[in-house]
Symmetry: C2
Subunit: 133 residues, 2 copies
């Protein structure tokens, strides 16, 4: 274990940071991943699963499954496109919009909190800084 693995180190801070955001969003019943997807949908709606996948750089099937959860929560509507019957078009529901509005200040707070940890962030310092969040 002389040299740390960059990938494993990155995965570790990614898990940690995700936990920080998720904890902040928990009162709203969403995760940071879901928050991000809601933001993308708001920005691009009406948007197809494929397009959303390209934007988020996620596999289409992943986006489909993640979206189904948001749909089940009543935050996102899924409808067949009129031009192309194969396509599912996503939009925010009123609840989705409302929740995103409530989530945004929480996100801003966390972002700011992270920024203060990141000032002179080279890679190792990044790991260290996020390590004691």
């Amino acid at each position: 274990m002389t040299h740390p693995c960059y990938c494993i180190a990155l995965r570790k801070v990614s898990r940690r940071l995700t936990a920080v955001y998720d904890e902040a969003f928990a009162p709203l019943g969403i995760t940071v991943s879901q928050f991000s997807q809601l933001r993308h949908i708001r920005h691009k709606q009406p948007v197809s699963l494929t397009e959303l996948g390209e934007i988020q750089e996620l596999d289409r099937s992943t986006v489909g499954r993640n979206t189904k959860v948001l749909h089940r929560m009543g935050l996102v509507s899924m409808a067949a496109s009129e031009e192309d019957q194969r396509e599912t078009v996503l939009s925010l529901t009123d609840e989705g919009r409302a929740l995103l509005k409530r989530a945004t200040p929480i996100w801003n707070d966390v972002q700011t909190r992270i920024e203060t940890k990141l000032e002179a962030a080279e890679f190792d310092r990044l790991i260290g800084a996020l390590g004691d969040l």
Copy 2:
């Protein structure tokens, strides 16, 4: 999307970097996550699931499930501890050791490849550098 989310950005590079390592390890039939766990086991064997969880900063149940896969692959042995009947102790099998030996030069190559991308890596540069791997 004026401001990017630190967490989402980090998750994204984490996915990407994982894909790079996983692709390199693919001929051996393991992932970078499994490689890392094998290394930890080799370093600490005989080791319990709980201890391994603490080392890897992963939930015990996660380690248990990940280990079961390695065990199914014949790379790791799981035996009840003699001192404490509750404890499962993990060790590498001969195949596990052999595979780790073959995996290590591959890992070194990827590490080196990543290093050349990381020279002056502040956070944003990190994202950018990993972005075009």
